[in-house]
């Protein structure tokens, strides 16, 4: 089995299934913190998918987008945590 076929038939479906599972938690989540941590997890899985596709297409510039996604994940999670904390403050 060649390198590209292994990625196409094993790694990418595993990551796709994990995206679906995390997105179910994103839709179900009873509180807002559940949705925020599911969004953080979606960003992390998307970083993995970007790394896999940068190997598949042999384009190392895709990894800049992965770095950007890591930044966005951190800032969005901290800002949402600050918002949840300050929302009900009297």
């Amino acid at each position: 089995m060649s390198f590209e076929n292994y990625f196409y038939w094993v790694i990418v479906p595993i990551l796709a299934v994990s995206v679906i599972l995390v997105f179910v938690r994103f839709l179900k989540g009873p509180s807002m913190a559940d949705r925020v941590i599911a969004l953080d997890m979606l960003f992390l899985v998307s970083i993995c998918i970007i790394a896999i596709f940068s190997m598949l297409f042999d384009q190392s510039t895709f990894l800049d987008i992965a770095m950007l996604f890591a930044l966005i994940a951190f800032f969005s999670t901290t800002v949402y945590a600050y918002y949840i904390e300050q929302k009900n403050k009297r």
Binding site: S18, L44, E85
Partner: protein
Amino acid sequence: MKEVIIMICSTVGALFILSTSVAMLRQPDVYLRISVTAKASTLGVGMILLAAAIYFEAFPVVSRILAIIVFIFLTVTIAGHMLAKAAYITNIPVWKGTKIDELAGKYDPETHVLYSESPDKNPAKLDKKPDGKLE
């Protein structure tokens, strides 16, 4: 040989990501979900990015990937801590199987200040229960 190492690294990383996402669906509590995300997903992302570093093996790409890995290892834990603190302050219920809750009653519900002991022992907060209701 290089391809085999890349396949092993990416498979381990993808399986860690899959186990993390199954745990996101099956854990009974916000805090356990945050804990799972902070632990397993850093290893999964790290393994897959390590596979990409082995694949490209050029100095600019490898340094960029190492920067991403260090950034994720630093920030996921910080973000998880901030989110768990915010969830605890807003009284999201803890799972009923939790044995020890050492933070119970130690946050002031109005000013969100952490005391080292329960606010009941603090003279200024003597008339408040830990959940913020007046007695």
